[in-house]
Amino acid sequence: MTATTTEPRTYGGWRRSRSLGIGRLDSRQTVILMTAVLVPLLAAAFGAVRLAFVLAGVALPVLGLALVQRGGVLLMDLALARARWQWAAWRGETSYRGGVFAELPRAWDLPGVLAPTTLLDVEEPGRGRVGVVWNQRTGWMSVTLLLSPAGALLADRATVEQQVAAWGDLLASLADDETVRAAAVTIELVPESGTQLADHVAGRLDPDAPELARRVLGELVAAAPRGAARVNARLTLTVDPAAGGARPRSVPEAAAEALRSLAGLSVTAAGADVLRRASATDLVRMVRCAFDPDAAMAGVSEFDALTWGEAGPVAAEDLWDHYRHDGAYSISWALLEAPRQRVSHDVLLPLLSPGRFPRRVTILYRTLSRDEAGAVLEREVNAAAAREEYRRRTRRDPTARERADAERAARAAAEEAHGAGLVQFSLFVTTTVTRWEDLADARREVEQAAGRSRLKLRIARGGQSAAFAVGLPCGIYPPAA
């Protein structure tokens, strides 16, 4: 009761992670800008005035592409995505026919970015069998925890703030393990298939029960799937076993390395109980059900016999703004802009609340190593100090933006000193429908929910299949791609 008198805690102060460059440009833009300005100038300096004009004529549209944004995205990036996708589409590479249709060696490989992955079924001493997704191209191993969040909606604020702080600690602790590459939390909102309840009721129903009781239970079971949703949460940790001091010499050792990293996480304090480590069957089921929502109706045991290759779609089309797979349609979004203002811990709630259509929200995290984080923060504090000095000399009043920047830099440095880490995060959302007519509604639903969560998303145009794969427990981490 006493907690209500204090101000609720807010969070914010993140900014887009960019490489170094002039002013607000990143290094890529800076290089293009310099080239576009210097090359015509150099040409002019060497007397080739006509050439300089021609070069300037070429440089201007290039500059435009590199500097002008549309909808928050550089024209250059849009053009690049379009060109890549168009090229692949012409060559028929955006289509996928799996399994028996494909020739070796790619037969039985999943589509797109999932193709280099394979599934290991590892025995973990004392815990039973655990599934590990091994990306054979990068060597990264991904292990997944199935979580059961306690829910923060009805909890006391002090408790929730503690949980949020514990979640922050967990993210910071990722920096202490140098093999950890990325962590991904996926909240999956799927319609309740109702089969679990139906099985349960069928198993418990007394054969001599009165007709009325049987009828009402039957009605309840029949009504259960409609409008009911299930919230599944999972945390996938992606580990590069080769990065550690002890270089694992075999695949089982590498998988053990990944499991060891997982054991170090204290998820329970962050408000989510650990149900179990995902077994190979769990992983197959999650991937299969993502590609074919109807498969969720099947019992768990039916996934036992499936191999990793069979978990994928039979056929898929990676279209410009949606992904078509095994009779279902998906749209995936990537984060464009995180909330600019300070927000309370429940800001993501609208996006994480079930709507009419299944939805998968994935937040990707990469914690910077301690050295890297220290360097970044020092640079920021120095920059703020330099601006301050410049202002003092020019006797100019600081702008609100500068003041906020300096404050943020100081706060971040203080938090780092208290054990916080620097975290890069990104967010992907996928919605899947089984009827083409619903796709537009599903798209509107996600965009509205994101708006209420103060996020700006953009459809991953041209990169639908990769963005779709981000939400699967396979350790796909696009910022590193």
């Binding site: 191209r137 029960a209 429940d346 914690t367 880490g421």
Partner: protein
């Protein structure tokens, strides 16, 4: 290939390899997938905006807002108000996992549907092979359901059915068939219960209005034992009065009294009080042998007290106690004889009425119910306020009463005012948000529309709190069959909201 998952049947662990994994790059797909038509290569990998912040701040985009709900096991209740998940309740099934006790405490304002959820639970459990026994149905609410389940409804009232609170149950007459030792044990327990019940009845306003003192208590217990000397028949309250009036030698010996005058001084008050229980407003209810024994083979049984509802709270309270005691001993003896294999679900509606009937009532109730907890019975204790528990006259009663609630690991809270929630919170901590949510269901509609035609804003909404877990708010959705069934329920809504 090493470690690659094989089809089922070949799931042995990959043999430990000593050399580093040698991968043939030509059979491993490139990062974005295979090239070539129909290969499904990811043409473009969208990275999205990558943001940078300290872990303290980034944690603020907290991903675990939504709870993933209770297991989909047991009796389906309805959709979760927040996640729209189907919420099920399985008190017996969760025993030892989520709960330590299968009893359920249901509390809420009048008219918010406390008995609706109780009925759903009973209905579901009956479907799972439970016997439903409603030992005191004050408003006759359960009668419709019990009849529809093909069960037995015993109507208590003058000119209707009569039960003997000292009855050892429908199977009590089998007592002489038991071997001596078992019979003694069972008889001692049955007599103990009888004494407990008579004490409680005497404590009501129609009896002494207080607990009997030590001497009276001794006289009463001795009289019960004497009246019950013949195991073939069950004593009635008039039988006990008769023994007390006759004052046989063993009774005087027991009390260590020499003169008849002394004896009269000791027992005059309780004899008068017992007479009152058989006379006045209670006459014709509990003063003779049972007319309709409970049929424990029926899928559901209800003891309907609605006929005495108009006789006043104290009569109803005494009636409730008598009926509960009778029903429990029926179940108990049935178990002792091994003829009731099914577990039982007991909705104890209007708990507050019985508890506030008089001092010592809680103890009686505790005594009646406690013995049964280990035997597969699920009690649904339904009440609308803890104030009745707090208003109990003695500290001992209050402590026992709160124990009743604390022993229930499952709490179902329907709409109730904040003051009530604060009281609950002192015993079972509720979070601020939980309290606010439940209280919001209780607040009158802002429009001020006359409540008579309006459905209560919190009707059918419940917060299910299991152990220390965060509560699950759920809406009870009645199925077509239930709607049809309750539509013809003889208890109109007016009467429910009148209490």
């Amino acid at each position: 290939m090493l470690g690659r998952r094989r089809p089922a049947g070949a799931r042995q662990a990959p043999a430990p390899e000593k050399r580093p994994p040698a991968l043939n790059a030509r059979v491993i797909a490139p990062r974005r997938g295979w090239r070539g038509p129909a290969a499904g290569r990811a043409a473009h990998v969208e990275t999205g905006s990558v943001y940078l912040g300290t872990s303290v701040q980034v944690a603020g985009l907290f991903p675990f807002m939504q709870a993933s709900g209770l297991p989909a096991e047991g009796v389906p209740i309805g959709p979760d108000l927040l996640t729209h998940e189907m919420v099920c309740l399985d008190p017996p099934g969760w025993l030892g996992r989520l709960t330590n006790n299968p009893s359920i405490w249901v509390q809420g304002q009048p008219g918010v549907g406390k008995s609706a959820i109780a009925k759903r639970l009973c209905l579901g459990l009956v479907g799972y092979g439970y016997a439903m026994l409603c030992p005191g149905d004050v408003k006759g609410e359960y009668a419709g359901l019990v009849r529809a389940l093909g069960g037995q409804v015993v109507r208590i009232g003058r000119g209707l059915d009569r039960i003997n609170p000292l009855d050892s149950g429908p199977l009590g007459r089998l007592l002489p068939t038991l071997p001596e030792q078992r019979r003694e044990i069972l008889l001692a327990e049955v007599n103990g219960r009888r004494g407990e019940l008579l004490h409680a009845l005497l404590a009501t306003a129609h009896g002494l209005g207080r607990r009997p003192v030590a001497q009276e208590s001794a006289a009463l217990n001795a009289a019960i034992r004497l009246a019950a000397a013949d195991p073939a028949t069950d004593p009635t309250i008039p039988d006990v009065i008769k023994v007390l009036r006759e004052a046989p030698g063993p009774l005087l010996d027991r009390l260590m009294l020499r003169s008849h005058d002394e004896y009269l001084t000791e027992v005059r008050a309780i004899v008068a009080a017992l007479e009152n229980l058989c006379d006045g407003p209670l006459s014709g209810l509990f003063d003779g042998p049972t007319t309709t024994p409970l049929d424990l083979n029926a899928p559901a049984v209800s003891v309907d007290l609605s006929a005495i509802l108009t006789a006043g709270d104290h009569v109803v309270a005494a009636g409730l106690l008598a009926c509960w005691a009778y029903s429990y001993s029926a179940v108990d003896t049935a178990r002792a004889f091994g003829v009731l294999a099914r577990p039982v679900v007991l909705p104890l509606d209007e708990l507050w009425r019985a508890l506030r009937a008089g001092p010592g009532m809680v103890e009686a109730f505790d005594g009646i119910t406690r013995l049964n907890r280990a035997k597969g019975e699920i009690s649904l204790m339904i009440t609308h306020s803890l104030r009745d528990l707090e208003a109990l006259p003695t500290e001992e009663d209050r402590a026992k009463a709160s124990g009743l609630m604390e022993r229930c690991d499952t709490l179902i809270l329907a709409a109730m005012p904040m003051s009530e929630l604060t009281r609950i919170s002192q015993r079972k901590p509720l979070t601020d948000a939980e309290r606010e949510l439940v209280a919001s269901w209780a607040s009158p509609t802002a429009t001020g529309i006359d409540g008579t035609t309006q459905v209560h804003p919190g009707r059918g909404k419940y917060l299910i709190k299991i152990g220390q877990r965060i509560g699950v708010p759920v809406r009870l959705a009645l199925t077509p069959t239930e709607l049809e069934l309750y539509h013809t329920d003889p208890a109109p809504r007016r009467q429910v909201s009148a209490s």
